[in-house]
């Protein structure tokens, strides 16, 4: 597997979506190629960063109360 092949499936590899055989070849490549290994770490780092920053908008308690109330009214109708 060459660098270009690895780049194409790297996200899917990191998601654990590749088949065993392919996953192993990507892994082998990453152990030998510092460029791809660095890219892989960058993907992971950015993913973790995005997850941390974009998961932080919970609904307000006020809204939750309103929603629960609305659902109960709806149920009566």
């Amino acid at each position: 597997m060459g660098c270009d092949d690895v780049k194409r499936v790297l996200y899917f590899f990191l998601d654990g979506a590749l088949g065993d055989k392919k996953s192993r070849s990507v892994n082998d490549h990453l152990n030998l190629c510092p460029d791809c290994e660095r890219r892989s770490r960058l993907h992971q780092q950015l993913r973790a960063f995005v997850r941390r920053r974009l998961a932080a908008v919970p609904a307000s308690d006020k809204f939750k109360v309103r929603l629960t109330r609305t659902l109960r009214v709806f149920r009566v109708e």
Binding site: R8, V9, Y11, F12, D15, A17, L18, G19, K21, K22, R38, R39, R41, L42, H43, Q45, L46, R47, F49, V50, R51, R53, L54, A55, A56, V57, P58, A59, S60, F63, K64, R66, L67, T68, R69, T70, L71, R72, V73, F74, R75, V76
Partner: protein, 267 residues
């Protein structure tokens, strides 16, 4: 939906309709997840609340259609997605062309440019200083369909198959959008990081500007832009960047240069 006092009173004497309780128990734990995604889709809390509420009311109405044993969270997201499309995307705007080979190339360029910094200390969190407003702007710069896939996969943790179900599209499309969406998002974040000096030190004033942006949402300026800000080339450059982002925001439908479906060999 607004409630009258009479309706409120009815809640007080709420009944014991079993299905309702079941639904409430099953659905309420997902309200934060749905709200977060709704907020990213509609970009404001009021619309997000309306969208979530409408989703819950619909879901309750069709609760008997939900197949026991299938993924309830994914089912709620699917209803929300459909509601969003019906309510917010009715007006189709002129398609915007995206050149994916250009994205691929510019991604590589950005990676190359930043490589020295990343090599230096790959373990450090080079993005930790980035403003939330920048992260939000980077996400909002993605075409809607790509943004959705990235949110569902990377924030909500849905599998490819679940996303395909929520969005009513083949798994191949999910993968292709994920591949491109993540690339576009990474590229934008790396560009911001570089531009505002989060990667290379010494660009302190840039952060100050970001703070200002956060307090007051950027509006696209027309002819005044050049005159008022030409004196400061740095600022002017930024203005152009955001003007371009604003333009994209107004465009909801995208047209692709390449075929949307790309084959990825997993086995």
């Amino acid at each position: 939906m607004s409630l009258t006092t009479g309706e409120m009173m009815k809640t007080a004497v709420a009944n014991d309709h079993e299905q309702g309780w079941d639904f409430e128990k099953a659905a309420m734990p997902y309200v934060d997840s749905l709200y977060n995604t709704a907020y990213r889709m509609t970009r404001n809390s009021e619309d997000a609340e309306d969208l979530v509420q409408e989703t819950y009311l619909k879901a309750y109405k069709y609760y008997d259609k939900f197949e026991e044993g299938t993924n309830f969270k994914a089912w709620l997201f699917k209803i929300m997605k459909n509601t969003f499309i019906n309510n917010y995307r009715k007006k189709k705007l002129t398609p915007h062309k995206i050149d994916f080979s250009e994205i691929e190339e510019s991604y590589e360029r950005v990676i190359q440019k930043n490589a020295p910094d990343l090599i230096k200390d790959p373990e450090s969190d080079i993005f930790q200083d980035m403003m939330d407003a920048d992260v939000k702007r980077a996400l909002d710069s993605l075409p809607h369909d790509y943004k959705m896939v990235v949110l569902l996969a990377d924030i909500e943790g849905f599998s490819y198959k679940e996303i395909a179900e929520i969005l009513d599209c083949p798994v191949g499309t999910v993968m292709s959008r994920l591949y491109r969406g993540r690339k576009m998002l990474e590229r934008t974040l790396l560009e911001y990081a570089r531009k505002y000096g989060y990667i290379r030190g010494g660009a302190e004033p840039a952060k100050m500007r970001s703070r200002k942006d956060e307090a007051k949402p950027r509006k696209k300026k027309d002819d005044e832009t050049e005159e008022t800000e030409a004196a400061e080339p740095e600022e002017n450059e930024e203005e152009i960047l955001f003007a371009a982002a604003d333009e994209e925001e107004e465009t909801e439908e995208f047209e692709f240069e390449e075929e949307e479906e790309e084959e990825f060999e997993l086995e």
